[in-house]
Symmetry: C3
Subunit: 224 residues, 3 copies
């Protein structure tokens, strides 16, 4: 599983970098950089470990994960201002991390449970939860709600991992195939604005419209 | 405990439906529907399992929970646009899920610990965390902060479960009583705008007022 | 470890009070007060217990933690309106809780793993996660993103705990030193607006500017 461990380290580092870039956009101090880098870098894996019952979680047993996050955060702290477009770089690093983590998460889930359905879900969760936590904590526009394909890329990569595994591929090969597919899909979405072919329902009414249309009640104390 | 398992499946399905409706309001793609449906449908139970130490969590041991969420999401994906008021339907399905899950959560908590206090808390948490996660991830107005009764309905249902259990009722009956009470309270709150009888303190000052009144400092680099 | 248990109770109570004050600012009802008080009071410790594999988590084994939160919430429910500046009081109580919890979290992490790196992280996480959860759920301006020193105070306290412990101090003394340092730093930040000495990169572009500068794509259906 050496290539999987490498993948995991790489995924942690690039997700940590996206957390540090979000910290830079919010002008946090160096400890804020380290904090957001850790949350983003190890958030997805922490969730995966918890639901599978792998405790103490990976980074408690292997503190080098924290060191990778911290080192990445310190590096970005001194270099983020040199980048022309931190948000674009954040999105691309997030795509690399998404690809690495959907393969890694699917591999761990499949090994732990033998269930392809669980493997796909742990792959998707590992790949997306770090970025979702980052966006919630940094009050960034959620990558989950952006129009281009995001979760779907992780789902496709995780699914390909389980298919390749069922077809007899070794974990390293399955992981590389899964990563390549997830990165190709997410990268295409970033470049070309790919969205899923879909019926596009109308957007939800906002709070003011819900009030006007009588769907929700006004707060007590106002005239009804 | 057959009726409890049925309740659990029903609660998962209706919460998954509220997640899918939130996805529809945000015009997500079909994988976004499935993602939000899963988070909302199994979020509360996941939290309950984790704090009680029931790992791997329920949906890892029984992947049919995921299939229920995914099937509900796909169904809603093709039908949500036919609904006149998705937000109102979301609130009512959320009420059904709240009622089912406060009974289920209290039953699991009581069985695991024997403590009524813990049972009430696991009931409340199971009933509300899925919806809270949905609102945070979909950037919807939080159901927790709406003026009408919400958490209180789950608290009342969970408390009734522990009382009925202490009075010697079988789990199925305790659960039905708890559900009926929680749904009656939350439903009444939705129809009539019920709020708890309460002293209503003034609202908090917002950030601009906090700055003006000198309660928080302006960001460095601005004149003080 | 008697002083550590006292610290823990004190930290839970003051964090619970900050949750209740946030509930007051949002004009929630009494169950909303209790809910936010519990989330804030036990959120950090719950995360710490989960990642270390200490399950059932502390408050499930010792329901008196819940009673402390609930009692604090009820007390604040009847007295919050008497306070002139609830937000300022919230920030100061949060500082007390941060100091108590970074010491407590570092002590638990060090005892469980023997690793100073893990102890610093569990100290920081225990000290900050309750407040972060409170701000996300109450839709308050995140204390994490405020300009003055916050996470750094918890990091410094946790680090001092591990240093004092390595130097042979008993847990109670290490904890008092850690608390004093963390509270001094955070208190100074609140009074004097202290920020970390730092290169201050430019703020991130917002969504409109990202669109204008071509860094993100417009939603499909609009002209490109």
């Amino acid at each position: 599983m050496n290539i999987l461990i490498l993948l995991d380290f790489a995924g942690v580092a690039v997700f940590a970098a996206t957390g540090a870039l979000a910290a830079s956009r919010k002008q946090l101090d160096i400890v804020g950089f380290v904090f957001l880098a850790c949350v983003t870098g190890i958030g997805g894996g922490t969730f995966r470990d918890l639901v599978l019952g792998h405790v103490p979680v990976t980074w408690v047993r292997n503190p080098e994960y924290l060191l990778i996050c911290a080192a990445t955060a310190v590096l970005l702290y001194f270099t983020a201002h040199m980048m022309e477009s931190r948000y674009r770089i954040l999105l691309w690093l997030d795509a690399v991390g998404l690809a690495a983590f959907c393969a890694m998460g699917a591999a761990v889930g499949l090994k732990a449970t033998g269930s392809p359905a669980i493997a796909i879900v742990t792959g998707m969760a590992t790949a997306t939860f770090g970025g979702i936590l980052r966006d919630v904590l940094a009050e960034e526009k959620s990558v989950l709600l952006r129009p281009e394909i995001y979760v779907s890329a992780a789902a496709a990569g995780s699914a390909l991992y389980t298919i390749a595994d069922a077809a007899g591929a070794v974990p390293g090969l399955s992981a590389l195939l899964a990563m390549a597919l997830a990165f190709a899909i997410r990268g295409g979405a970033l470049i070309f604005g790919w969205t899923m072919p879909s019926y596009r329902a109308r957007a939800g009414r906002n709070e003011a419209e819900l009030l006007r249309d009588g769907i929700v009640s006004p707060p007590p104390g106002q005239s009804r």
